[in-house]
Symmetry: C3
Subunit: 312 residues, 3 copies
C-alpha cells in the first residue's frame, strides 16, 4: 500500500519534471509552478499540457526508453507538454483536439527518440524540435480536414488590434515578463511572472538570465522596427529566453566570453523569429520555438571550432 503510494508519487514527480524540462530543469517544484502558471493562463492550457506530458512520457516508457537516463528526468515529457498547449491554442478545445494531442504526443515521442539518435554524434539534444514539427504539421495540415480546422483568425497577432511601433514603458515591462510566459505560448504578463517564479525556484541566476534575455529579444525587435503590441506580448522574447538559458550555463560553460556568445545567440533568435514567422505564415504555420531550436543547435554545434568557448 505504502509502496503503491510511493510509486504513484514517483510517477507524479516524473510528470512535473517533464513540465519543468521545457526550460531544461529536472526540478519537480519548478514543474509544479509551471503547471499552476498554465492553469492561470486558462484551464485548457493546463489540462491539455498535462495530457501531452502524460501521453509522451508513457509512450517512451512503454517502448522501452531508458528509465534512468531519460524518462525519470522528465526528458520524455516536455515536448508533449508544449504539443498539448500549442494544439489547444491553435485548434481550440474540442474532442478532436484531444485525439490530436494524444496522437501528436505519441508521434512526438518517437520523433524525439529519432532526433536523439541522429544528433548524438554531435552532442546535441532533440530539444523542443518534436513539438515544433508535430504542431506545425498538424496546424498546417488541419486546413484539409473539416473536423479539425479552427479559423486562425481566432488568434490574430496582438498588433492587429493596436498597430504602431512606439514602445511605451508598459509594453517594455509587460513584454519582458510575457517573453518568459510565451515559452509556453502564454501572452499575459502575470502568467509570465509565475513562470519566472518557477524558474527562480530552480536557481535565481536562471531568473536573471531569463529576464535579461527576454529584454534583449524585445529590444532587438524594437531596433528592427517591430510592432509595439507584438513586443508587449512577448513575441520577440521567448525564443531569446530559451536560447539565453541554453547557451549560458546549461549547455555551455558560463564565462565572460560565453556571455557575449550567448548574447549573440539571443539577438539572433529574436531576429530570426520574424524570418521564420513570415516563411511559415505563407502556409498557415506559426513561429513556435523554431528560432530557439535552430539557433541553439547551430551555436552548440559550432563550439568545437572555438578555443574560447567550452561545452558543459
Amino acid at each position: 500500500m505504502a509502496s503503491a503510494v510511493a510509486q504513484g508519487g514517483t510517477r507524479l514527480l516524473v510528470l512535473l519534471k517533464g513540465v519543468a524540462q521545457v526550460i531544461f530543469q529536472a526540478n519537480p517544484w519548478t514543474g509544479l509552478v509551471f503547471l499552476v502558471a498554465l492553469f492561470a493562463g486558462g484551464w485548457q492550457f493546463g489540462a491539455f499540457g498535462l495530457l501531452g506530458t502524460v501521453v509522451a512520457t508513457l509512450t517512451a516508457h512503454l517502448l522501452g526508453v531508458s528509465w534512468d537516463e531519460r524518462v525519470s528526468l522528465g526528458l520524455e515529457g516536455f515536448s508533449g507538454t508544449l504539443t498539448g498547449v500549442g494544439l489547444v491554442l491553435y485548434l481550440e478545445p474540442r474532442p478532436m483536439t484531444v485525439l490530436l494531442v494524444i496522437f501528436g504526443a505519441i508521434a512526438g515521442s518517437v520523433l524525439s527518440s529519432a532526433l536523439t539518435v541522429l544528433l548524438r554524434p554531435y552532442g546535441l539534444a532533440a530539444s523542443t524540435a518534436p513539438f515544433c514539427v508535430i504542431t506545425t504539421v498538424m496546424v498546417v495540415g488541419g486546413s484539409a480536414f473539416s473536423r479539425v480546422w479552427a479559423v486562425h483568425a481566432s488568434t490574430p497577432a496582438p498588433s492587429a488590434a493596436a498597430p504602431g511601433t512606439g514602445l511605451s514603458w508598459t509594453y517594455l515591462w509587460q513584454g519582458t515578463l510575457s517573453g518568459v510566459g510565451q515559452v509556453f505560448l502564454q501572452d499575459q504578463w502575470y502568467v509570465g511572472l509565475i513562470f519566472l517564479a518557477g524558474l527562480v525556484l530552480a536557481g535565481w541566476r536562471l531568473g536573471v538570465i531569463a529576464l535579461v534575455s527576454s529584454l534583449a529579444g524585445l529590444l532587438t525587435g524594437w531596433l528592427l522596427g517591430a510592432q509595439a503590441a507584438d513586443l508587449g506580448a512577448g513575441l520577440y522574447g521567448y525564443n531569446s529566453v530559451l536560447t539565453g538559458i541554453a547557451l549560458f550555463g546549461t549547455f555551455v560553460v558560463a564565462t565572460p566570453a560565453s556571455a557575449v556568445y550567448a548574447l549573440i545567440g539571443v539577438v539572433a533568435a529574436a531576429g530570426f523569429s520574424a524570418g521564420i514567422g513570415n516563411l511559415f505564415a505563407v502556409a498557415g504555420g506559426h513561429t513556435l520555438t523554431w528560432p530557439f531550436v535552430l539557433v541553439t543547435w547551430v551555436f552548440l554545434a559550432a563550439v568545437p571550432m572555438f578555443s574560447r568557448i567550452r561545452r558543459v
Copy 2:
C-alpha cells in the same frame, strides 16, 4: 550467342527487380506484374517508368556503383521508375518530358548515392527520397519554363468533381485497392488490384500488410474529415502502404510490439499527407511519397532508443 542472350536476360531481370524495389522487393516476377499494372494505368506510365528505370540503373552502373551490393538487386532502379511515372503524370507525355525524365533519372541516381552515404551511419536507406526531390524540383521549377509547363489543372484532386465527406461502401473498398496503386501514382482500383497481385507473388503476408495499411490510412483520413472522393482515390492510403510494409517485417522485426509501432507509423503517414500536401501546394508541388519517406526515416532512426523494437 547463348552467353549474350543470358547477359541480356540478366539485364532485363535487373530492370524488373528495379521496378519491384519500389515496394522493397528484389523479385523480378513482382516487377513484371508491377510493370503490367503501370501499362494498364496508361501506356505513358509504363513507357516513362521503364525509361526512368533504365536510365537510373545505367547511370549507377557507369559511375561504378557496386554491382553485387546494389545494381543487381534493383536498388538503383526504383527511384527512376517513380520519377518517370511522376513527371509524365504532372508534365504530360511530350518530347521535353522525355528529356526531363532522362536527366531526372541521372541526377536522381547521384542523389541516391549521396543519401546512401549520408544516411549510412544511422542504418537508413535513401528510399524514394530521390524521386521526391527530383520530381518536386522539376514540377515546381517547371513554371519558370515555357517549354516545360503543363497546366496543373489537368490533374485536379478527385474531390474537386465530387465534394463531400460521406464515406460510401464503394469509396471504402475502391479506396483500399487504389491506395496500393497510388504507390505508383495510379488512381484506378483495378490497377491497384494488379499491383496487389504482384506483391502477393513476393509473399502473401505482404498483401495482407498492404491492404490493412491502406485501409488504416483511409480510415485515418476519414476520421479527420477528409473529402470522400480523395479517400476513394487512395490518396490517404499509399504512404501508409509503404510505411506499413517498411516498418513491419522489412526493416523492423515483426513482433506484437512492432505491429503497434508500425500502426502508429501508418496513421502518422496518412495524417502527415495532408500537412505535406498543403505545404507543397503553396508552391505548386505534390505530396508524392514524402510522408512515407520522412515518417519511415524517423521511425527507423528511433529504434535504437527502444528496448521493445528491433531492426532486421
Copy 3:
C-alpha cells in the same frame, strides 16, 4: 614599426584571400581583382562586401578558430563578403543595412563553424551555405520590420522589362560573362569580365572551366525555355560556374569521367535554379547560391559510391 606594417600587411592579405575564397582561391591577387570588380559594379557592393569580410574574419578569430587551418587561408571571410553584397543589393545602402551586415556576418561566422563540424564526417565544407541562410532569413524576415524593408520591386527580374525567349548573340556572350559576375550578384558583363580576369590570375584552367560552365548553364536555361533577358543577365550561369569549378579539379580529381560528372552537376545546378527560385519567391526569398550549395553537396557526398570518381 616594420613589424606592425608587416602585421597590417598580413591582415590585409587574409581579407583579400577571404574575397578570393568565394570561388575557392586562397590567392590575394585574385581577391584584389575581385574587390575591384565589386567596386566597378557599384561602390556599395565593394564597401559592404569588404565590411562583411572584415566582420566575419574578425569574429572567427576572436572566438578562437584555428589561424593556420582556417583564418589565414581566407576560409572565414567569403561568406561575409557575399552577405554584405547580398544584403545591400536587396535591402539598399542604409544605416540599418550596415547593422544587419555586421550582425549577419557575425551570425554567419558561427553558422559556418557549426556546418564545418556537422559536415566533417562526410568530408564536405560549409561552402556559401551560411551566406544563403543569413541572407534568406534577413530578406524574408525583413517584411516584418518597418525599418528594414526595402521594396523588392527595386530589383525586378531582367525579363520583366524585356520579355521573350529568343536568344540573341548579344544575350549569349554577355550572359556567359555575366554568369561569372553573378557569383557575386553582379549583372553587368564587363564586371563579369573583371571577375574572370581575377580567376585567370589563379590559373587559366579556372577561367576556361568558368566560361564553359557559365555557357552550359545558359544553354540549359535556353533549352528549357527560360526568358532570354534572364539568360543574358547570367541568372542561369553563376551556380553552374561555382559547381563546375568545385566538381572539376577543386574537390574532385579532374579526369575524363569526372568531366562528365561535373557537367551533369553544372546542368543540374542551372535547372535547379528555377525550382529553388520559384519556391523561395513565394515567401519573398531569392535563389542566391542555394542551387550550387545543394547540388555540390550531393555530388561530393555521392563520390564514395562511385569507383570511377575520386575526391581530391
